[in-house]
Subunit: 299 residues, 2 copies
Amino acid sequence: MASRTPSAAPTSPRTGRSGGRTAGTPAEPSPRAGESAPAEPSTPAAKGAPAGKGGERPRRRLSVDERREQLIAVALELFSRRPPEEVSIDDIAAAAGASRPLVYHYFPGKQALYEESLRRAGRELAGRFEEPADGPLSERLYRVMGRYLDFVQSHGPGFAALLRGGSVAASAGTSAVIDEVRRAAHDQILSHLAVPSPSPGLRLTVRAWIANAEITSLEWLGERSVPLEELQLHLVQEFVAALTLTAAREPALAAELAGFFAAERPDGPTGLLVRELAALFADPGIADAVAALVVGPAN
Amino acid sequence: MASRTPSAAPTSPRTGRSGGRTAGTPAEPSPRAGESAPAEPSTPAAKGAPAGKGGERPRRRLSVDERREQLIAVALELFSRRPPEEVSIDDIAAAAGASRPLVYHYFPGKQALYEESLRRAGRELAGRFEEPADGPLSERLYRVMGRYLDFVQSHGPGFAALLRGGSVAASAGTSAVIDEVRRAAHDQILSHLAVPSPSPGLRLTVRAWIANAEITSLEWLGERSVPLEELQLHLVQEFVAALTLTAAREPALAAELAGFFAAERPDGPTGLLVRELAALFADPGIADAVAALVVGPAN
């Protein structure tokens, strides 16, 4: 996501919910957001001008759409670094090189700006779950988790504040964004599983694993006790284990699981997991105990 | 929780956080909460009288502490059945047979009453995680999950509204209650594992599994697609699987895991799981694929 143009959504159009923004505003370079830039005076022109042909003039004034996009980008940056309680409209105005009244001209208040920036972040995050259906499943998921964890790392405090809930800025709007990201993750994973009609049990497995990924990344943000790559591998392996458990309960899934294991590579996340578990179950104490359980109850 | 006396906390004293309530108020029978009872007039005596010797009088007026407890109990009942947005102070007053001003005399507003009733519910829920350290681990956890799921079932809409977040009533206070219940669950599970110094990885496994239990029960409340007993069994088996995966990564845990498996019984949750997995891995397609992965990459 290194380069963006004002006329293109930051992520794939598939995830877009553009909120009524008019496309086609002429592209003009956005000024750099400077922490110490003086507040831009809220002139009648900036206040009242409709969107549209601003790009034809030689002046470097941002069009209405561009200014709006810039304010959202600046807000997202601030809300990523600090919990919403600790970001004020003044902070956003200062970082955008705009005046407070100008910010209020575009957004009724901090909550609206918070929710809009959150919707953008949600859209970007949802876009990171998209992955071509190529190669072993666990390797696809591993790549997805790499992008997800990069997002978590770069939006840490905001991500944590959002998911912890109980924030004064939590609302039906923020909750809807979280739900939408979860749904995108769920749908993407199911599409990679390519199971014709996923059972309620399989859907629940996917949702529970998404909750696992959330709680795990939240914990990681707090303590950073393991390298991010380890988390990435463990989460994928936990998914493989959860899928296997679900197949053990649902015979209809066993055939899918066979196909899934057959496509895995020995040096991929599943191969590593299988060998780790084989080593664990080779432990004589564990092997004996498990063997006794396999035999079943004496009748 | 059929009978309560004002001087005893509703759940085990170990989990109690009595919030500065003075114990020792004389017990007096509470009037039945009737949906259609007329509002009790807020007399100066009821309003201004300090707690204490009210029990000496023959009148059946509730003492200050009793009234407070009654209001909390009534509020908890209503907040269990409906999301907080759909419960008004008038509903609580009517259900308690009290007047609106009387409710406001005890609580500054709905939010305070909501949070207090939530604290009680949280304490009760936390109490349900307490389980004697007897018998196989998975059977202990199975009993705990039975009590947990009963709670979820009987407090459904309130539980869902609370955990879904984004409620207008979500606050730092409600968030603290959720955190406290999660911590109680986490600590109880770790105490049953009896691992001398639990690693960050093991703690994370426990927390992620608690999130799994939450999301699973939330989903269940929405769809009720499987019997509750199945959920109870699956959650316990998922814990066993998560613990096994953690031990596969952390050699220090392998000895603990051997002891844990050795204590399990063939007809318990772990025994059932082991046989389900053994049957799954006996599937020729899965067996061949897994065997190839066990061999490892060719060098």
